[in-house]
């Protein structure tokens, strides 16, 4: 299991923002993307996750391997914590949600409606979803937003366990997770040179 990104160029709103991005991610590895706001971290992650076709370049090894967690957690306010998790588990063909509840300290909240959770608790539930997907590559976009220090530690522990089990993680984050083994890739050098728009995205 290896994710390989070669010479990737991505666009946002029809404008090229990143080009020539290449990296490999092997089993047990974590890669942290850094860069200023607007450099294209989210767009890159969405391209890797297959939500957006890249302008150029290839992503190999991503097919049916990726669990994506974006800015929103995809929770339903009127479903309880366990119902939300169980739904995602069965979408991915799994049934066990207990270990995910324990890992993110959600056992006491299990029968609460997701709409009644705090922002940080929602985030934890959103991240717990990754554990019930059974997918080896976690693609995480700002996973620690609205988490407190203790929850960030829980999350780092979950990522570490995932890596030890042979998974890998690709994440965009600004804060230090305390994952010493994680490599860091600064996206600033890959910023696309400004050029004229070649075609009108809106009509594609």
């Amino acid at each position: 299991m290896i994710l390989s990104v070669r010479d990737l160029a991505v666009t946002r709103g029809g404008l090229a923002i990143l080009e020539g991005v290449s990296f490999d991610l092997a089993a047990g590895e974590a890669l942290v993307l850094r860069g200023p706001n607007g450099i294209g971290k989210t767009t890159l992650l969405r391209s890797v996750a297959g939500l957006q076709p890249p302008e150029q370049g290839t992503v190999t090894g991503a097919e049916d391997q990726i669990a994506y967690a974006g800015h929103s957690d995809g929770l339903k306010a009127m479903l309880s914590v366990t119902e939300n998790l169980r739904f995602w588990a069965s979408v991915f063909g799994l049934t066990d949600i207990e270990s995910a509840l324990v890992a993110f300290d959600l056992t006491e909240l299990r029968s609460r409606m997701a709409g009644a959770l705090s922002a940080g608790q929602k985030r934890r539930l959103g991240l717990a979803r990754l554990m019930v997907t059974g997918r080896p590559i976690w693609v995480l976009d700002e996973p620690t937003v609205s988490l407190d220090a203790a929850s960030v530690a829980l999350f780092a522990e979950a990522v570490r366990t995932h890596l030890q089990q042979g998974g890998s993680a690709l994440m965009a984050t600004h804060i230090d997770l305390g994952l010493e083994e994680a490599r860091v890739l600064d996206l600033t050098p890959f910023k696309a040179a400004p050029r004229a728009r070649q075609m009108d995205e809106a009509f594609l």
Binding site: L51, I66, W88, V91
Partner: protein, 218 residues
């Protein structure tokens, strides 16, 4: 896929889910029309099949923007797109859930509300049959409209404009089945055309909905 259907049905029934919205609208239309038309039972029973069909169609339209917009807003749609479900399956399940929560209650309520419109006796069965055959098409076409306008803020107006013309053939043949049934004429050809439309859109439109949804998710 079954998990998605169960989740959608559960969400529809829970508070704020919008179950019964279409049904309530249908009830309001059929209760108000006799007041608007006045005490002319004969006129009312002549237009009753058409009123029932228009009411059902508008009731369907009312809840269309909930099909995909809610999942788009909370990010579930992105996550579903990366899940092992095919996009065509997702939109089909969404349409099915919409039909079960909106179309099916309308079919079941129509004969009861037909009494208010003094629907002729022979028309009852044909109104129910034509709605049962035609409302799945309304849900599938509506899902296509919802997929086209997902991500557009307040896309409801645009969606109505896009979807209404597509609803016209279903309405024409559906109301024709009910009207001919009411007059005791043979209903075979409009019923076959209505079924043809329903099965045709069920077979083809999920692919179109999935394609536009993929583009809208970019």
């Amino acid at each position: 896929m079954r998990a998605l259907l169960i989740r959608d049905l559960m969400l529809a029934i829970r508070a704020g889910g919008g179950f019964g919205l279409g049904l309530a609208f249908f009830l309001i239309v059929t209760v108000l029309v006799p007041f608007g038309v006045g005490p002319q039972t004969e006129l009312l029973s002549r237009i009753a099949p058409g009123i029932l069909w228009i009411g059902a169609l508008l009731a369907c339209l009312l809840s269309l923007d909930r099909i995909l917009a809610l999942d788009w807003e909370d990010g579930s749609l992105d996550l579903l797109a990366t899940a092992p479900l095919p996009m065509e399956g997702i939109v089909t399940i969404k349409a099915l859930a919409h039909w079960i929560t909106t179309g099916l209650p309308l079919v079941l309520a129509a004969p009861v509300l037909g009494v208010l419109l003094s629907l002729p006796i022979p028309a009852y069965q044909w109104v129910v049959i034509s709605l049962a055959v035609g409302t799945p098409a309304l849900s599938v076409i509506g899902t296509f409209g919802a997929a086209l306008t997902v991500g557009i803020k307040r896309g409801g107006l645009l969606m109505s404009l896009l979807v209404l013309p597509l609803y016209v053939p279903t309405l024409i043949f559906g109301a024709e089945v009910a009207r001919r049934g009411a007059e005791g004429l043979t209903v075979q050809s409009p019923l076959l055309l209505l079924a043809g439309i329903s099965f045709g859109v069920m077979a083809l439109l999920p692919f179109a909905s999935a394609a536009v949804l993929r583009i809208n998710l970019r």
